[in-house]
């Protein structure tokens, strides 16, 4: 996995370590971490910063019987084994997406967005960010667009390129309203990404402008 060149920023990784970011963003970071050793190492050290900050707080003694009650309960405690369910999920699906996908990318009921793109909405987050999978056919392109809010993308399969470079499996991208880009999937295979969009994207090409009101409406009613 040494091909990963695009990583979450230090400040985003810090928020992840603190668990103080919207969960939709955390989901993208988590997917990246599953395939990026370098960031996983950084995270371990950032967790240590968190533990030191916690240690420096003024300790607050618990209510008097909290410990005795807990000690009495210890023998009857059993671990919640919910997470040990047997999973029949394709290995290419990152672990943190198992909560949404129960087989593989092939079995999803994809929705056609354009000639080149299909999408599958996973959920909405607290800030109404849209969390979806995008599937771009080999050589396919998305319209040139800018963003009104931030967009987070992690590549799950295949690769794509835009004006700034080539992105492969595991690469993490953050785009905001300053960026204007035209992603194109490479010709050798389709590209599947996890994308989190915090506000409607703004299409900038001629047809894009015509389409904008429709997109905004579908974003709101989605």
């Amino acid at each position: 996995m040494n091909t990963i060149k695009n990583h979450p920023s230090d400040e985003l990784l810090t928020s992840y370590s603190a668990a103080s970011l919207p969960l939709s963003q955390a989901l993208c970071v988590s997917v990246h971490l599953e395939s990026c050793d370098e960031c996983a190492r950084k995270l371990q050290r950032l967790n240590q910063v968190g533990s030191e900050l916690m240690r420096q707080l003024k300790p607050s003694p618990p209510s008097p019987d909290l410990k005795s009650n807990l000690l009495e309960q210890l023998d009857s405690l059993v671990e919640d084994t919910e997470n040990d369910r047997i999973e029949d999920i394709d290995k290419s699906v990152p672990r943190c997406l198992h909560q949404f996908i129960d087989k593989g990318f092939g079995e999803i009921s994809w929705k056609r967005i354009s000639r080149d793109i299909k999408s599958y909405e996973l959920c909405r987050d607290q800030n109404n960010a849209k969390v979806e999978l995008l599937r771009i056919r080999p050589g396919g392109t998305s319209s040139t667009h800018t963003h009104m809010g931030d967009e987070y993308t992690v590549i799950l399969e295949g690769s794509f390129s835009d004006e700034s470079g080539l992105y492969r499996r595991g690469d993490f991208l953050m785009r905001d309203s300053r960026h204007k880009h035209t992603p194109v999937a490479t010709r050798d295979g389709e590209c599947i990404c996890l994308a989190v969009t915090e506000a409607p994207i703004q299409l900038t090409g001629f047809f894009g402008r015509l389409l904008n009101p429709l997109i905004r409406r579908s974003y709101v009613t989605g």
């Binding site: 400040e11 910063v49 909290l66």
Partner: protein, 192 residues
């Protein structure tokens, strides 16, 4: 020097208590861990929810239950005990807040963060762990207030960059760059 020595002794003591819990289900050792960590976990809860005493007790209890149940999965090569307990507390807190409707999200945080409590998918041995710990301690003490204040909000109060920027009336970019400066000074991101 004396202080450093006693802090190493304490670290070793906590580690051996956790090992006793894992191997022998040792309740006395657990009791020592409780006395040490429960007040810290409460403080961590109160940093986010000031005055919420009951929630603080519940979080402390929840985290200590996980310590009891998950002691066996603790691996001292991956993290020191403090860091392990911090990740448990962080995960419990975010889970608790969501279950109690403090924020609404269709995403289950346990599926995102919990992997790291156990051996994650790609565990690394922490080399020079004690040196790193010293770096972080010294580094935190030397941070300018404007930077440590922001780390405090992000890590302990659980504030997003956006919330931090609103509260401190600072541009979002300034908040992000202060976080970046702070973690760079702590030298935690340098590969080695």
């Amino acid at each position: 020097m004396g202080q450093k020595k006693s802090s190493t002794e304490l670290t070793e003591k906590l580690k051996s208590c956790l090992e006793s819990v894992a191997k022998h289900r040792d309740k006395n050792a657990f009791s020592t861990l409780f006395d040490h960590y429960a007040p810290q976990i409460r403080a961590y809860s109160l940093a986010r929810e000031p005055g919420a005493d009951l929630i603080a007790d519940e979080l402390a209890q929840e985290v200590m239950i996980r310590v009891w149940l998950k002691a066996e999965s603790y691996n001292s090569k991956l993290a020191n005990v403090n860091t392990w307990v911090f990740t448990l507390a962080r995960n419990c807190r975010i889970d608790y807040l969501r279950r109690n409707g403090r924020f609404v999200s269709e995403i289950d945080p346990t599926e995102i963060f919990n992997d790291m409590e156990d051996e994650g998918p790609s565990p690394f041995e922490m080399v020079h762990q004690s040196r790193l710990e010293e770096n972080i301690k010294d580094g935190l003490a030397q941070l300018p207030r404007e930077q440590s204040e922001i780390l405090f909000k992000v890590y302990l109060e659980g504030k997003s960059h956006q919330q931090t920027s609103e509260e401190l009336k600072l541009p979002l970019g300034t908040v992000k760059s202060r976080v970046r400066l702070a973690v760079n000074k702590l030298k935690v991101l340098v590969a080695r």
